[in-house]
């Protein structure tokens, strides 16, 4: 049986891990290679490096980091952040990344997904979707009607359908709304040849209150490619929920691992006890 994957994510800026690792007795707690090797030894199933480098000039740094990591770490490595075109993808893959995660560039030029997956194979093209919950048009209209026709409000029986939530896709690190529906976009990236979806709930991200299970489930149910849930992990139960109720194929988390709240081994033991298949 295919195992559910546990994926730590490192934010890398100018070749260094930011929001550094707080628990390890590492020689260099800011070195992505050393941290990557540590997580690999601990049993992480993959690694994600998110390059949040501020300037174009420092972009080559990430390639060097990827090269060094590929020499030391023998589990899959996904690199995302700042990918603009086919040349960026080519460079990252030939430096040793196994997959690239494309976000903004995929929205601006959806053909990039098609071109990249045809050229390099679907298995290495991950499309990252940052989604924020919106009120559905129906519920907005209803609310407006409620205001205008307040006397009817007490008679109004909302059906569950009226409250069907939807999620909008954001780009530019969550700053720019696109007007695209996350479910529709997920369907499109799949038909363009993406091999995986890295789904981040912007509402949940940073809260430590758990993943957006409804979003995760909706996307995972409709997708025929694997979905990695991201954003909101605060404890091990949250990971369990994302993999069961949320139907995610993999879970990505940062702070619960980096701050030493839970080790990868502890995480896997916890999940295994609850019947989840994880790699031992």
């Amino acid at each position: 049986m295919l195992a559910k994957r546990i994926i730590p994510c490192l934010d890398v800026k100018d070749g260094r891990v930011v929001k550094g690792i707080h628990f390890l007795n590492l020689r260099d707690a800011g070195d992505p290679v050393e941290i990557g090797a540590f997580y690999s030894r601990e049993g992480a199933d993959e690694l994600v490096f998110l390059d949040i480098t501020a300037t174009i000039e420092s972009r080559p740094t990430i390639l060097h980091v990827v090269e060094k990591t590929a020499e030391e770490v023998f589990i899959p490595l996904t690199v995302g952040g700042g990918i603009k075109g086919i040349e960026d993808i080519k460079q990252l893959l030939s430096s040793g990344a196994d997959k690239v995660s494309i976000n903004t560039a995929a929205i601006k030029n959806p053909d990039l997904i098609k071109e990249a997956s045809e050229r390099f194979g679907s298995q290495c093209i991950v499309v990252a979707i940052d989604a924020r919950r919106v009120e559905s048009l129906k519920s907005k209209v209803k609310r407006k009607n409620e205001k205008n026709l307040s006397s009817y409000a007490s008679n109004f029986q909302p059906s569950t359908f009226d409250f069907q939530p939807s999620w909008e896709v954001y780009i530019n690190s969550g700053r720019t709304p696109t007007g695209l529906d996350a479910l529709e976009w997920a369907g499109e990236v799949e038909s363009l040849g993406a091999g995986e979806i890295l789904l981040t709930s912007m509402d949940a991200d940073g809260t430590k209150d758990g993943y957006d299970l409804e979003l995760t489930k909706r996307i995972s149910d409709s997708a025929t490619i694997p979905v990695i849930a991201s954003g909101g992990a605060g404890n091990l139960q949250h990971l369990f929920e994302a993999l069961t109720e949320g139907k995610a194929d993999a879970v990505l988390a940062a702070s619960i691992f980096h701050y030493g709240e839970h080790s990868i081994k502890e995480t896997k033991d916890f999940l295994r006890k609850q019947g989840i298949i994880v790699r031992s």
Partner: protein, 203 residues
């Protein structure tokens, strides 16, 4: 020297670095001379079957590769490199190297996500084999593929894996080995498999 065949199908760096880690002397190459000289050949590869065959043809290495295999040279196909050994693939209805009888088929099972992506266990059909030495049955390896091989001759099946159906995850016939998973990305177990391969190449 182990020749890792470079034919424009994916990143060879991981494969060569992993081999070096376990003591292999590696050359990434597409030259006929290197293929002839090498003690062993590794054909890695990710991407489309058709493109891979085209790239092998345009580099003029289809015949040298087949000759090397026929001559008994140790060979390991990884992922697409395994699939290419067979007669033909459903992916683009394309002919392969035809070294082993059988076909390459697409996963088509309801509610099954494709690609088959991630870590899955392998069941041994023959645990005596040197390539698997020191690797416990049930060990997990990393997979990333949408097609799987179906050998005509079941005798060549080395390991099986479950993904909706049981499929062949590794084969062996004489000097020919092939694995559907990526040993270079499968942590310690994968390194052990490559270490075994390097050891066999030196025997």
């Amino acid at each position: 020297m182990i020749a890792v065949i470079d034919y424009g199908m994916g990143n060879l760096r991981s494969v060569s670095k992993a081999l070096e880690r376990v003591g292999g002397e590696v050359k990434i190459t597409s030259s006929v001379e290197d293929i002839e000289k090498a003690e062993a050949i590794i054909l890695p590869g990710v991407g489309a079957f058709y493109q891979a065959m085209e790239n092998l043809k345009s580099r003029g290495i289809v015949v040298p590769l087949c000759q090397a295999i026929d001559s008994g040279k140790l060979f390991l196909g990884i992922c697409l490199g395994l699939q290419l050994l067979f007669e033909e693939s459903e992916e683009g209805n394309c002919k392969g190297l035809n070294v082993l009888p059988g076909k390459v088929k697409k996963f088509q099972i309801e509610d099954l996500k494709v690609p088959h992506m991630g870590w899955n266990g392998v069941r041994f059909k023959d645990s005596q084999l040197s390539l698997l030495e020191g690797i416990p049955e049930g060990s997990y390896f990393y997979f990333a593929h949408s097609y799987y091989v179906e050998p005509t001759d079941e005798e060549v099946i080395l390991t099986m894996t479950e993904y909706g159906i049981p499929f062949t995850s590794a084969v062996r016939k004489d000097n020919i080995f092939g694995v559907q998973f990526h040993p270079e990305k499968s942590g310690e177990k994968g390194l052990r498999l490559l270490e075994n391969f390097v050891r066999i190449s030196k025997e």
